[in-house]
Symmetry: C2
Subunit: 354 residues, 2 copies
């Protein structure tokens, strides 16, 4: 830390992203990327002509990708804004709608970035514990009178609330923002998009990094009512108006419009998830019913740290959170069937040594 | 504005980027883009293999492009950080180093984003007027004891301070940040990069949008001492760790390493700038000696607004700032020689009508 950093950041602990190793021989099941290439239409659209136009600024209004999202999700264009990944969307939401009179609340076990945003924006969140089974109790979020942030499905637990449960939370929070972080929703949970018109305080954040196979393009978006979108656009245009690059705008548009490929990829992930969940259970793991592109698994003997380290020795990278309540778990991305088999084989070898 | 927006933003006025019209028949001289394509090595490197990898996250440490910059500029890798455009770099600097005890100072006429960052981060800047000839008086910045932000060359004036003048400012500001915004420095001004080792409070921000022909890739960077870079990285990793997409990292690396193409493009801009400045002066414009890829021109009869509007009618887009002291000027990007001739022809027609 330099002597010039503002004192309010003296204790800030930035987010630690999952490791991005240089070694391409590793089986990388640690950051919930898609094992599938981007849509063939993305690859076709990012041609030499488009690349040659990189000397020109991108459209700060990102109209092309917004129009594709609006068409696909059946919402209006003025109900959408794009972020440089959904992390930026979340950042703008914490920045715009939280302050000393409106401190946010969220679960004790959820996306690890929420507490980091609180440090960055000098907020003191109310932390709401998950139930013993790591699920969310909807009534814990009733009548909060402060901004509510819920990841649905939740990470890293992989568990989802139903649409009626989400609506119950909205019914009991009329006067504050409710942000539903739907990064993983396409893998089997109910989206709250259908509630956007009904609850003007609802914000949904989404990402192209998981189900749209575009983690490297950095694209996320918010869906909400036009007033709230206008507020979040104020944040964007006061921070970084050209936040999305030219090629990502095109990639996002093509990925969003290729419904067939999207479904094929998502269905394959679900199938592999069913397979790997069943096989892990046979091997003594508790595996909650995942609605995401990862599983959250805990063995009855092997500790989370040991399992993580031993997989790493075998060139398989998963994610372990050294945090109370979830220290015994590892989070494993659902990749290809081959990666699943490699994981199961490695796990068999590890368990032999227990 | 929704009723949920934090009150502190009730009066915020976001930055207005230069218009990005859909109409490709316009001659666009309003956002200081390069008229030249990205380096051929960029176009070659962004091949189908790389595009196919967009399903994977980008490197949050952006090592490849940092290494290319370090090599090219002769600084260490830990003295560099990447931003999603230099706007993001500037935002992180305002956020990290300014607060109620350290309000920033900058010129009355300078990059229009500085006051916007102040609104976003709730800062009250000290505004230091330029001299009557729109140049900066270095001694006005001595012993500020608060963060100093200077665009060098300055925008939209196109005027530059010399390296000794910048060093004088640093000598008289030992205990506060001095950020030199070198977005346009490659077009003929002295860079302060050579002073980085000598003044631990110096930050330089740079962009790939102008001299590196990559406005659409969204790439900027900071050069400073490792402590300050570490502070700014804390902001990035607390806001958006994967701020640079995969393809822009590659594009930035290739653009930085292609010194020959870079020099060819910059030299061509300088040549056209000399031509257009001389021709404009012949037509009754005052054109200060530009060190940038734009000129800032004022006619002795024709008002700035009229000139802007009449050029627009002829499908030529330039930038006009409706702001005290510079209302009579227009800012004109130096594009290709053909664009310069089109501008001069249009100007001749406009002046005939005066």
């Amino acid at each position: 830390m330099s002597r010039f950093l503002s004192e309010r950041y003296s204790a800030i602990e930035p987010y630690t992203p999952g490791e991005q190793p240089k070694n391409r021989n590793l089986i990388k099941l640690n950051t919930n990327e898609s094992p599938f290439l981007p849509s063939p239409n993305v690859i076709k659209a990012l041609n030499e002509t488009e690349i040659s136009r990189l000397n020109l600024y991108s459209d700060p209004d990102t109209r092309e990708v917004i129009s594709a999202i609006a068409e696909t999700l059946g919402v209006n264009e003025n109900q959408i804004m794009m972020g440089n990944g959904s992390d930026e969307i979340l950042a703008f939401a914490f920045e715009a709608f939280c302050d000393k009179e409106h401190e946010p609340c969220f679960a004790d076990i959820t996306y690890g970035f929420y507490p980091v945003f609180c440090e960055l924006f000098n907020l003191e969140p109310e932390i709401i514990p998950l139930k013993d089974d790591l699920s969310i109790e909807p009534s814990d979020y009733f009548n909060k009178n402060k901004p509510v942030f819920i990841a649905n499905p939740n990470a890293p637990t992989s568990l989802a609330l139903s649409l009626p449960q989400i609506e119950e939370i909205l019914i009991h929070n009329r006067d504050n923002i409710v942000l539903i972080d739907e990064a993983y929703v396409d893998f089997g949970a109910d989206s709250a998009i259908s509630l956007i018109g009904k609850y003007p305080n609802l914000i949904i954040s989404r990402t192209f990094s998981k189900s749209r196979n575009l983690a490297g393009a950095r694209l996320g978006f918010a869906v909400s009512n036009p007033d709230i979108i206008a507020d979040m656009l104020k944040m964007k245009f006061s921070f970084n108006p050209y936040n999305i690059n030219r090629l990502s705008i095109i990639a996002g548009k093509e990925a969003m419009l290729d419904a067939e490929y999207f479904e094929k990829c998502v269905n394959s992930i679900k199938e592999t998830r069913g397979y790997i969940s069943a096989e892990m259970r046979k091997r003594g793991f508790a595996v909650p019913e995942s609605k995401t592109n990862f599983i959250f698994a805990k063995h009855n003997i092997l500790s989370g740290t040991d399992y993580y380290n031993k997989l790493r020795e075998k060139n398989i990278l998963v994610r372990h959170f050294d945090k109370e309540r979830i220290r015994d778990y590892v989070r494993i991305t659902i990749g290809s069937r081959e990666q699943a088999d490699a994981l199961l084989n490695a796990t068999d070898e590890i368990l032999k040594g227990c």
